[in-house]
């Protein structure tokens, strides 16, 4: 089994061409990045609002908690059954998937953002107010930079969930690395399933490392040193 999988993984033909690993990785990443961007577009402003004003906190906690209980595979099928007959072209397969991925990613990004803003040292906020900053200056120049580590952690865990669920989504017919897992099973080729699984795990790890790197670069020096000291 292991040698067959290795053979499949090291065959150049596996990697190139329209159905190759490289092309499928690009598709997988494209769908994932679109979903994360859309989720951030919704969740970051709402999270900032909740964190800054303290309003709607209860709602955010409970919605995020309840969402975690909803099985994404089930929602994926529901969205596909409803939307597929009403759409056409490539979009017909991808739109329901992206919609579900966005739904999945909103709670972690939202809770990361509001928890980050909420955890800002009240003394820093008071000091900012004391030196005459306006509310929007406090938000953008004090709270957002200080909240950045938790916001980015939220984005990271959202991205991991997106990549994992985008893999599952191959079952409803979209491209991406999940194709190997699903098609390999359909054709009873375990080496294709296992090879695809290794590649998708490596991709998830790589993306997480890249995001960890970004986190290290953009987080303010002051925060890092304050924590170390």
């Amino acid at each position: 089994m292991i040698s067959l999988t290795w053979q499949w993984l090291t065959d150049p033909a596996t990697w190139t061409g329209p159905g190759g690993i490289l092309a499928q990785s690009v598709t997988h990443l494209r769908i994932s990045v679109i979903a994360l961007a859309l989720a951030a577009l919704v969740a970051v402003p709402v999270g900032l609002f909740i964190g800054h004003t303290g309003r709607g906190r209860w709602l955010a906690i409970n919605v995020a908690g309840a969402f975690r209980a909803i099985p994404s595979l089930g929602v994926l099928f529901v969205a596909t059954l409803i939307l597929l007959p009403r759409l056409s072209g490539d979009l017909a397969f991808e739109l329901p998937v992206i919609l579900v991925l966005v739904l999945l990613a909103v709670p972690p990004v939202l809770s990361g953002t509001y928890a980050g803003v909420e955890a800002v040292d009240p003394a820093a906020r008071d000091a900012a107010r004391g030196v005459g900053m306006t509310e929007s200056q406090i938000l953008w120049q004090v709270e957002v930079p200080a909240a950045l580590p938790l916001v980015l952690s939220g984005l990271r865990s959202a991205m991991l969930q997106i990549i994992a669920t985008a893999t599952i989504a191959a079952i409803v017919g979209i491209g991406g690395l999940g194709r190997y897992l699903i098609d390999g099973q359909a054709s009873r080729q375990y080496e294709v399933m296992a090879g695809g699984a290794i590649v998708v795990a490596a991709l998830a790890l790589l993306v997480d490392l890249v995001m960890a790197g970004i986190q290290r670069v953009v987080v303010s020096r002051g925060l890092v040193e304050a924590r170390a000291g």
Binding site: F77, V78, L160, D208
Partner: protein, 213 residues
């Protein structure tokens, strides 16, 4: 019948789902307790250990279900793959939580226990661990809910549980079973969540005594 599914079928699948999500929760907790303790006892172990167990969580569930037969020598359809995968995910979530919980015990409390003649093992088990219960059960609740959701993915490799209703419904273009499956999954997650919350309250009577005053 509900949504075109026999009640008895739903019951069987719920039990299967509970087994596949619940047993790993217990196993994961049992493994995370010593790991988390090691991470608090030997500080230098904490970063690599928490990063290492966290890495397990980056592996997409479907990929892990498929790769485990390769590593364990099991068959693809074996329950063992799902049980081991879910145990790994539970450890990934809980090691950090256990370390946080044990680390949150006030230094004065530890010193008082030591002054009363408690050895390290006894202090950990009788003083630190009970005080860490609220933090650990909070992590356990998150793990329980996410386990229930992740287990349903195993339907794609043919392991039967509530996720089977999703694939059956989808293949027959029938929304009924899918909705029944989602409802049962959410209900099971909420029951586990509430159960652990209740257990946490029973295990920490001193917190209630404080609130009543």
């Amino acid at each position: 019948m509900i949504g075109g599914v026999a009640w008895s079928t739903v019951g069987e699948l719920v039990l299967r789902h509970l087994y596949l999500a619940g047993l790993p929760l217990l196993l994961g907790l049992l493994i995370s307790l010593p790991l988390g303790w090691l991470a608090t006892r030997y500080r230098w172990l904490a970063p690599p250990m928490i990063a290492g167990t966290g890495l397990l969580y980056t592996i997409p569930s479907l990929a892990l279900f498929i790769l485990l037969p390769l590593l364990l020598g099991t068959r693809v359809l074996d329950d063992a793959n799902v049980l081991v995968a879910m145990t790994l995910y539970t450890i990934a979530l809980l090691t950090r939580t256990v370390a946080d919980g044990l680390g949150s015990v006030p230094g004065a409390t530890r010193q008082a226990a030591t002054a009363m003649g408690y050895g390290e093992l006894r202090r950990t088990l009788v003083v630190d661990l009970p005080l860490a219960v609220p933090v650990i059960t909070a992590g356990l609740r998150v793990a329980a809910v996410s386990n229930v959701s992740i287990v349903s993915v195993a339907a794609l490799i043919g392991v039967s549980q509530l996720g089977q209703l999703f694939t059956e419904g989808f293949n027959r273009n029938d929304m009924g079973p899918i909705l029944v499956g989602i409802g049962a999954c959410v209900a099971l997650a909420l029951v586990l969540d509430a159960g652990i919350a209740a257990l946490s309250r029973v295990l920490t009577p001193w917190l209630r005594a404080g609130a009543a005053r």
